[in-house]
Subunit: 245 residues, 2 copies
DNA sequence: CATAACAGTTATGAGGCGTAACTTTTCTTA
DNA sequence: TAAGAAAAGTTACGCCTCATAACTGTTATG
């Protein structure tokens, strides 16, 4: 309550900066260990050791393992979303097929290059992790979806969107699509059929990415996987009616 | 080296039967605990407690946690494969669309009803689990694939297989498909295009199942998810040229 | 410069994994 | 059927991890 208490908003104290840096270092070290050990079961002790600290020191920054896990999940969300956006934006706006492929490849490579992190977001919760079953978990699907939705809207605006592969839509789904289409996206030209196609496309894409990230396609040489993935993207693009690469 | 040592092959001693039963009980208890806690990180101690034993007793049956995990994975494989076969066989052979849908639904419900077990097979390895990166992991894809292949061959034999959605096949993939088609399946009428379509269909199907099993579709009501899944199967059936349900 | 906030340490307890040594039960067989 | 081998299960133990408590040093701030 001192009169000079007007510094909480815009004052990155030196103290606070070094603290933030330490937090970053902890998270980075944790990710390194996760990648090294190939498991998502991080050990506070190991992190501290790698940083030249003792374990209890970490409790100054994270209340427990679960909190650290939660932070890692949140970061992964942001990282993935940013990666997808960057990839999509790296291709000329009128090259719709190229934009789709770029975003899909980014998704794929992000997952394959960091399977544990991918599992952290899209897999089952881990031991100490207080599964926020309605929080970031569903947000993952939504963010990835919104990226895809952007592509669909762009394609529709360009007048190049073809009809989706499946035109039968149940009443119940149409009702949901009507709600979602208006609240989540512009809604310009979004029909239940297209919304359904988008969900199917996104799920189908996810399947390839998940299988490959977890090693179930390792019986194919990488070059062959690459080609197959392009075919996969072509196929799933057709489901929504997007321009295939 | 006693003369009466001619009983090792066909002699399920009472000893051995009760031992086998105990092993089954351990695995069953482990699965129960996995489902209860929602994590795949089983605790030997907890299993023993639930069985009214002390922890070291379990080491008579499994060398360590990893070995138990491995056994659970193997069992899950067999269970899933059997479930799929049963489901497919439960529909009249001439109802090709029905057979496809039945197998897909079986896959889906198996995963959604037992997400941890699903993750055990298709997710990342767990702490104590000595990742057999070339063993059961790849076998998972193969078994699920062979079930799908059976459907494709049936459809082709019935003369109802339509051309796959994507007909562009890279040379490298065609070469691989040529090898696989002959070694793994009868090869009757299997072209690289169809083989590619099968892989894409299977991956696409897996995507929906994985997302739903891990709760990423929980923002939809179950009934809506049901309808969407049917649409999904219709779409992915078209990729290979199968008869849609 | 005094003092409050913070970072980090050692000490400690609870609990899990896995091994060793011992006891009890069960089967085999002479 | 009685003796002994084999297997099942127990207690005791060492090591490691998580997490908390109590203490020491350091840094910013009046």
């Amino acid at each position: 309550m001192t009169p000079a208490a007007a510094t909480p908003p815009a004052a990155p104290n030196r103290r606070e900066r070094v603290r933030a840096a330490t937090i970053e270092e902890i998270k980075r070290t944790a990710l390194d260990l996760i990648r090294e050990t190939g498991t998502v079961d991080i050990q506070f002790t190991a992190i501290a050791r790698a940083m030249g600290l003792t374990a209890p020191a970490l409790y100054r920054y994270f209340a427990d393992r679960g909190e650290l896990l939660t932070a890692l999940v949140a970061d992964s969300f942001n990282d993935l979303a940013a990666t997808l956006d960057t990839a999509r934006a790296s291709v000329a706006p009128d090259d719709l097929g190229g934009r789709l492929l770029a975003a899909c490849q980014a998704y794929r490579h992000w997952a394959a290059g960091d399977p544990e992190r991918f599992a952290l977001i899209f897999g089952v919760p881990v031991p100490g992790y207080t599964a926020p079953h309605e929080g970031p978990t569903t947000e993952a699907a939504h963010r990835a979806m919104s990226n895809l939705a952007g592509l669909v809207l762009d394609t529709a605006r360009a007048g190049r969107l073809r009809p989706p592969a499946v035109t039968q839509v149940s009443e119940q789904f149409a009702e949901l699509a009507g709600r979602k289409a208006h609240t989540e996206m512009g809604g310009g030209g979004m029909t239940p059929e297209i919304y359904q196609g988008m969900l199917v496309t996104w799920a189908a894409l996810h399947g390839f990415v998940a299988l490959e990230a977890h090693g179930h396609f390792h019986w194919m040489e990488p070059a062959v996987r690459d080609e197959l993935f392009v075919a996969h993207v072509r196929a799933v693009a057709g489901i929504t009616g997007l321009v295939a690469p």
